[in-house]
Amino acid sequence: MTGRITTPSPEPEPVAAGSLDRRGFLKILTAGSSALVIGAWLPPVANPPHRSGRGEGFHPSPLIEITPDNMVTVIVKHLEMGQGVETGLASLVAEELDAGHDQVRTRFAPVDPMRYGNLLAFGMQATLASTSMANSYLQYRHAGAIARAMLVAAAAARWRLPRWRLTVDNGVIRSDSGDSITFGELAPEARAMPLPLAVTLKRPAEFRYIGKRFPRLDVAAKIAGRALYVSDLRLPDMLTAIVARPRRLGAKFVSYDADAARSVSGVRHVVPIDTGIAVLATNTWAAMKGAKRLAVTWDDPPGPLRGNSDFIRHYCRQLDEAGTSVFDVGNVTAHARGAATTIQADFLLPFLCHAPMEPVCAVLHFDGTRARLWIASQLPELERANVARVLGIADRDVEVITLYAGGSFGRRACFDSHYAVEAARIVSALDLRQPVKLMWTREDDLTCGYFRPLYVHRVTVTLERSGQIRTWHHAIAGQAVDRIAPAMSQMTEAEANQNSFTIFGEPPYVIPDLRIDFHDIKAPFPVLAMRSGAHGHAAFVFESFIDDLAYTVGEDPVAYRRRILDRDPRYRIVLDVATERAGWGVRSAPNRYQGVALHRTRHTYVALVAEIEMLAEGRFRVTRITCAVDCGVVVNPEIARRQIEGGIGYGLDHALRGAVTIRDGEVVQRSFRDTRPLRMPEMPPVDVVFIPSDAPPTGVGEAGVPPVAPAIANALFAATGIRIRTLPFSEARLIRR
C-alpha cells in the first residue's frame, strides 16, 4: 500500500583525496559565484566515477546512475515541493545525454553536502530562494554530457570505430555502419571508461528538451494518489504523535490530565516536551482525540507584545529612533537638505501564514544507535544535525530520507528544524524504539508561529525639480528571518540581516542616495521567511511609492517609471512587453482600472499589470493579470508558466485577505474558515509571457509573488484616489472620494 518508498542509495564512497572540501568551495563562492565557477566545481570532475556497489549500475557522477535495464536515474538534490525541480533537473541530464523521456526516473539525494551542496546557499544542501536551477543548470548538464561521452567511448571501443562515426538519439547509440546499442547494454562497459578531460555542452539551437516540452515526471503518480508524502508513511509498529499546543504563543504547560488522554482507545503514551504535551497513539484519530482530552492548563507568558496593535505601536516608536544601517550609498542626510519635494509614508505588512496544503510532518525511527528520518525539508542537512544533537549521536548516524513535500512556500526551511526536533524529543523522552510520525494539525499550522513577520516600513523620499528621485531613506522594523545562514555558516546575525536586506539596495530606478536602516525586533515566538523573502514586502513598498511619485509629478505611472529606470535594459523590456500586452491606458470597461508594478526577484525580472473592477460600496475584484518575465533560459516552459501563475495566486491570496492577527497573545484565525484562502472563483485569468533569452536561468518559484500586491494597490489608487499602504486590502476602506 505504501506506494514506492524510495530507498536511499547505498553509502557513497568517500570523496577522493584532493577533491574540494567544504571550505574549498566556500572559498570559490567568495571568489565569485558566476556560472562559470559553478560549472568548474562539479562533482563529476571533483570525484572519480564510483561503483554503486549494487548490480551493474554506471555512476558517471553522484548525479546519475545508468542501469542495465536501460533506465537513467537522476539523483535530485533539491526538494520537490511542487515547483517542478525534479523534472527540471532530470531534463537537463536527458538533454545532454540524449536520453529518451520515458527512460528517465529520479531518486531524491541522501544528505551529503559534499556532493549535493548548493553553492548559492553557502554550500549547504538546501532548496531555497529560487536558487535550484541557477545553481544546478550547468552541474546537471555537465553530468549528462560526461555520461554521454563515456557511453560513446564505450561504444567506440566495442565496435572499434572512431567516435565521430557514432550518433546518440533517444537513449540509443548508433554507428554509420548500422550497429546500435542502448545505454543500458553499454552501462557495464562505460564504467571502465576514463573520465573525459573536457566535454562540450549543446548550443541552444541543439536543445530538444530545454525550452521545449519535457512532461513532468510526477504527474502520473500524483493524479493516481500514489505519490508518497511523509504524512502517508506507514511503518510496522509506528505510532502517530499529536502535540497539544498552547493557544497563547510561547506559553508553557502548568498541568494536564494524562489519564483522560490515555483513556482513549489506541493511545499509548502521553509525554511532555518543551513545546507542549505529546500524545502517541496507534492511529491519527486516537492521537488527535487524546490531545484534545488532556485539558492542559497553560501559563500566561509576560511580555509587552501581546497583539498586532502592540507590535505596530512598538515598531513605529522604533522607527522614530535611528536603526542599524544595512545599506548606504551616497549621503542621504546631506543631500535631502533643500530638496524641492519631500514625501514620507509608513507601510504596514502583516504576519502571514505559509499554510502549505500538507501540514509539516516528520517520521523518525531510532534503534538506539542509528536513526532514520523521513522528511520533506528545504534544509535536510540541518534537520540531520539537529536530530543527531537531540538523540546524542553523530550526524552520520542519522539517515535522512526525502519524500515529496505537499507544498512549502518556505515553511519547510526551518532554522531550528522544529518538527524533526519534536519527533526526536519524543523519542528521547520515551526511549522509544518504534517509529514515530509527528504531525502538525492544520490548527497548529495556522496558530503556532513560524509566520512571515509583521513589518512596518517608513520611507522618506526627496525629489529633484525634474521629478527624478534625489534621496531615498528606507527604515524597516520587524523580526529578522534569516537564522539559517548563522546556523550553517560563519555568518553573524548582523551580517545575515545585512545580507537579507541588500535587495532593497537594488531598485530598478536611478536613486543616487539610498540608505536602508533595519530595526531588528525580538519577539517571543519564531518566524520564518516566506516565498520571495524580503522581496515580498520590498516590492509592495517600492512600487506603491513609485506610483505615488508619478502622481506627485503628474505623470503616467508607466511613463514615469520609464523615465527614471536604471540602465539595465531587462527592466525596460519586461515593462514594455507587459504594458503592451495588457493594453496599458486603454480601459476595457467603464469600471475597470489598471495598476502596474516592476520588480526583480533573485535576478528574475517581472513587470505585472493588474486590472480590477470596482463594484458597489467600494468593493473590487481582480479581473485580469498580465505579466512579462525575464528569467534567462526557460528550462521548462510549462512548469515555469505554472510557477509564475501560482506565485501570482499566492501573492493575491495574501494581498486580499491573508493575515495572521494576534490578539491577547493568541492567533485569531484558527481554521481556513477564518483565513479564507484564495479559491478558484477568485483566481483571475493570468497571462504570462516569457522574454526569449540565452542568459543563465534564474528562478521562477518566487518572482510572481512580489509585484501582485503593489499592482493592485496602484490600480485601486487609479480607481479611487485612495492610497493603500496597509496589507491585506481587506483591512482597507475603499470609499470613493
Binding site: 512532461p215 500524483k222 506507514r234 489506541g266 492511529n283 505554472r642
Partner: protein
C-alpha cells in the same frame, strides 16, 4: 462493533471507533493514503471522495454513519470519465505539489459525470470547495474543459 461498507467495490468490515472520520479509516486502517489530510474541518476539500456517488469530505463523515455506504477513493476511481480526466491532467502536465490532486480529480469526475460540458461558472462552483495552495486554479479550469472536450469525442 464492526461497521460494514463498500470501499472501491470491495465490502469491508471495519472494526474501529465509530466516531473515527472516514479520512482516518481510509488512511490509517486501510492504507488508502491517496486521500489526504488538509484540515480535518471540512474547509479545504482535498479529502474529497465519492460517498454513494456524491463528492464529500472524508473528514466530515464518521465511520458510524456509513454502514452500507459505497465509497470510491482516488485509488478506486475508474470508468470513462475518470480516464478522460486523468488524460487531460497528463496532457496539461497538471500537478504541482500534488497533495490536493486526489480531491481535484474526484471533483472533476463528479462534475463531468453530471455536467459533461460545463462553463467556467460551473467549474468555479464545483471547485470552490477544493483548495490548492499552489494556486493551480487556472490550469485546473483549463484541464476540466480539455476533459470535457475529450468526452465529446
Amino acid at each position: 462493533m464492526a461497521i460494514s461498507l463498500t470501499i472501491n467495490g470491495t465490502r469491508q468490515e471495519i472494526d474501529a471507533e465509530p466516531d473515527m472520520p472516514l479520512l482516518w479509516v481510509l488512511r490509517d486502517e486501510l492504507g488508502l493514503t491517496g486521500t489526504k489530510y488538509g484540515c480535518g474541518t471540512g474547509d479545504c476539500g482535498i479529502c474529497t471522495v465519492l460517498v454513494d456517488g456524491r463528492p464529500a469530505c472524508a473528514c466530515q463523515h464518521q465511520l458510524g454513519t456509513l454502514a452500507g455506504a459505497e465509497v470510491i477513493t482516488i485509488e478506486g476511481l475508474h470508468g470513462r470519465v475518470a480516464r478522460v480526466v486523468r488524460k487531460a491532467w497528463r496532457q496539461l502536465d497538471l500537478a504541482e505539489c500534488g497533495y490536493c490532486q486526489s480531491g481535484q480529480i474526484i471533483t472533476a469526475v463528479a462534475l463531468l459525470s453530471t455536467t459533461p460540458s460545463p462553463d467556467d461558472d460551473d467549474v468555479d462552483r464545483a471547485f470552490a470547495g477544493v483548495l490548492c495552495r499552489c494556486m493551480s486554479y487556472q490550469s485546473i479550469r483549463r484541464a476540466v474543459h480539455r476533459a470535457a472536450a475529450l468526452l465529446q469525442r
